[in-house]
């Protein structure tokens, strides 16, 4: 809807509501006269676009015949010229035009990087894509331009999926702060969503790459889960923009899932590898276990803050139990003991939160509790231990039934309808 149409219909409603008189409405409408739309105004941008396509086609067709210096000279000159255009436009205070100049400049910088890789027969498209993402992220972080921020986030997510198949994309951690800085400046919802998608893609790739490996990644994933969960308790305005669009309870659930998934798959080999990170000499440092425990306790406290006192005690107690069990699994006990303790801990957290939600009608608490219980079921269902899994699941069902019955007894009476 055009501005004129909007004003016309809205002012009519204002008049009907008695907010303005008929004279006032006429005066307002007279202030914003209807502009004649001239379709021929589209022809000039179309002509520029067509000329651009013609140039690209001509250069691409003769690309192989061009000498190396011409390829690099042409692409670098184009990038510098377009950045110069953006600087000139910014100097004149034209924000929208500057953004378009910047988009063209960043795309031309991609062509420069691709040209360098092409002339040197550098057959590593993933690395080129990463450097393109870095170029876009740097420009976005420096200028806060929305289009560039969106481009940088999308490109980073694409690179993670492209490069993450065989190797661990550690470089993400260097580029992501730039993308977040850009998203903070842009404050656009679409940019925030794309940034969150990039982060999600990285977590997914890291988890799938290291699920059963001996690298210490899971330890960091536990800490990331704890950080996400804690973040969910911040007031909306204190969260970074890319997390602002996500409800606190959803972030809390994500944090819980990430933490538990990381902890479950923190194998003894992975913990040893983590130890080597902290203590290169002996490889027997207690720090990884302590860090793991700290992460889990942070999440437990976070979960408990969403609930009342009794489930809070249960949740914290369960987390401590879980940590003890995890440490025990690594150091002393076999898998059977650990699995039983872990199951009990998770069941306590889940059941107590579900019970709490019945009394408070808090859907976030309910979702957290249900996630914990479903997580438990999945762990056992997919463990490959049919007999043990069935026994634990039956026992879990019995505990859930008992907790549920008790919950119905203590549930407060419903308030009578007004």
């Amino acid at each position: 809807m055009s501005r004129e149409s909007w004003l016309d219909s809205e002012s009519e409603r204002w008049q009907q509501d008695g907010l303005i008189s008929a004279e006032a409405r006429r005066a307002i409408l007279a202030r914003y006269p209807k502009q004649q739309t001239d379709p021929s105004r589209l022809l000039i941008p179309l002509a520029v676009l067509t000329a651009g396509f013609a140039l690209v086609l001509f250069v691409a067709w003769h690309w192989q015949e061009l000498p190396m210096a011409a390829k690099l000279g042409m692409t670098s000159t184009l990038a510098i010229a377009l950045y110069g255009g953006a600087a000139w436009s910014a100097g004149r205070g034209r924000a929208n035009a500057t953004e378009v100049w910047l988009l063209a400049a960043v795309l031309s910088s991609f062509s420069l990087l691709v040209a360098i890789a092409d002339v040197y027969l550098w057959n590593e498209p993933e690395t080129v894509a990463l450097w393109c993402a870095v170029a876009a992220a740097l420009t976005a972080a420096a200028t806060g331009a929305t289009l560039i921020s969106a481009l940088a986030s999308a490109l980073l997510a694409w690179w993670v999926l492209l490069a993450g198949g065989g190797t661990i994309p550690w470089q993400f951690l260097l580029v992501f702060p730039l993308v977040v800085t850009a998203a903070e400046q842009s404050r656009h919802r679409a940019v925030a969503t794309l940034t969150a998608i990039a982060f999600g893609a990285w977590v997914m790739i890291m988890a799938t790459n290291t699920w059963n490996g001996s690298t210490p990644v899971m330890l960091f994933i536990v800490l990331a889960g704890a950080a996400i969960e804690q973040w969910s308790h911040q007031p909306t305005e204190r969260r970074l923009v890319f997390a602002r669009a996500t409800p606190g309870s959803a972030m809390s659930v994500i944090g819980l899932i990430v933490t538990l998934a990381g902890a479950v798959h923190s194998t003894p080999q992975a913990t040893t590898a983590s130890a080597a990170l902290f203590d290169a000499h002996s490889g027997q440092s207690p720090w990884p276990a302590l860090v793991l425990a700290a992460g889990l306790i942070i999440v437990a406290f976070g979960v408990s803050r969403r609930a009342a006192l009794r489930p809070r005690v249960l949740a914290v107690g369960a987390a401590l139990w879980f940590n003890a069990a995890l440490a025990g699994r690594v150091a002393l006990f076999g898998d059977w003991v650990w699995v039983a303790l872990f199951s009990a801990a998770l069941l306590f957290v889940g059941a107590s939160l579900v019970r709490e939600s019945a009394q408070t009608n808090d859907r976030g608490t309910f979702a957290l509790g249900l996630t914990a219980v479903i997580g438990l079921v999945i762990v056992h269902f997919s463990s490959g231990e049919a007999l043990r899994g069935s026994i634990v699941l039956l026992a879990s069902a019995a505990i859930l039934f008992l907790v549920g019955r008790q919950s119905r007894r203590v549930a407060p009476p419903q308030e009578p309808a007004a």
């Binding site: 910014a90 910088s109 740097l138 190797t167």
Partner: protein
């Protein structure tokens, strides 16, 4: 800081990246040791005016005792090489060992042999493989692109699509590589049809 200054800063940073990338790729061409490796050049799957390069020396058979029998496509000719240090641990399950090697960075050592190119220059071959640099040898740092439980591995040596004229004779070709002491290397040309063709 004004928006104009920010744009200039972003431009400088992007140009610095481009300059760094150019230096990184130019470095082996300036300071690398020249090595000639046999290469197979094919026009199938390549764009007009280009060929696809693949190295027989990139298909290796490791000297391991705990392997499964090779089947199907794995029966391609391979060069048997010895390991310097432990590359393939014979105490482990071969399937797990193959999985752990996939995508890893390794070093292969090349040595000149009696064969020569069509221009009479000495060819080199891969003779051994290691997980670390071997002192006083020419090392190529490469990524393992494929493995199987038969201890057969494929390596990613610099090559891929090369710009060569359509009338170039492709048989008995050799790739001209420049290799840095760190093992990083780049292809700078080929010897094909009795001619030395430099790409730069």
């Amino acid at each position: 800081m004004t928006m104009r200054a920010r744009v200039v800063g972003a431009c400088s940073a992007v140009l610095a990246i481009a300059l760094g990338l150019w230096l990184y790729l130019q470095w082996p061409r300036w300071y690398g040791t020249e090595v000639l490796l046999p290469v197979e050049l094919k026009t199938e799957g390549a764009a007009p005016g280009a060929v696809v390069a693949s190295y027989p020396d990139a298909r290796l058979q490791l000297d391991a005792s705990n392997t499964l029998e090779a089947t199907g496509k794995t029966q391609m000719p391979r060069i048997t090489v010895r390991s310097v240090g432990v590359v393939w641990d014979s105490r482990h399950d071969p399937t797990a060992e193959a999985a752990s090697l996939r995508s890893r960075t390794v070093y292969v050592q090349v040595k000149t042999i009696d064969k020569t190119t069509t221009m009479g220059e000495a060819l080199s071959h891969v003779v051994s493989i290691s997980t670390t640099l071997v002192p006083e040898a020419i090392n190529l740092r490469v990524q393992v692109t494929a493995t199987n439980p038969s201890a057969q591995i494929n390596l990613g040596i610099a090559g891929g699509r090369l710009p060569l004229a359509a009338d170039t004779a492709l048989a008995q070709a050799a790739a001209i590589l420049k290799v840095l002491p760190s093992g990083r290397h780049a292809i700078v040309g080929v010897i094909a049809g009795g001619k030395r063709i430099n790409f730069f």
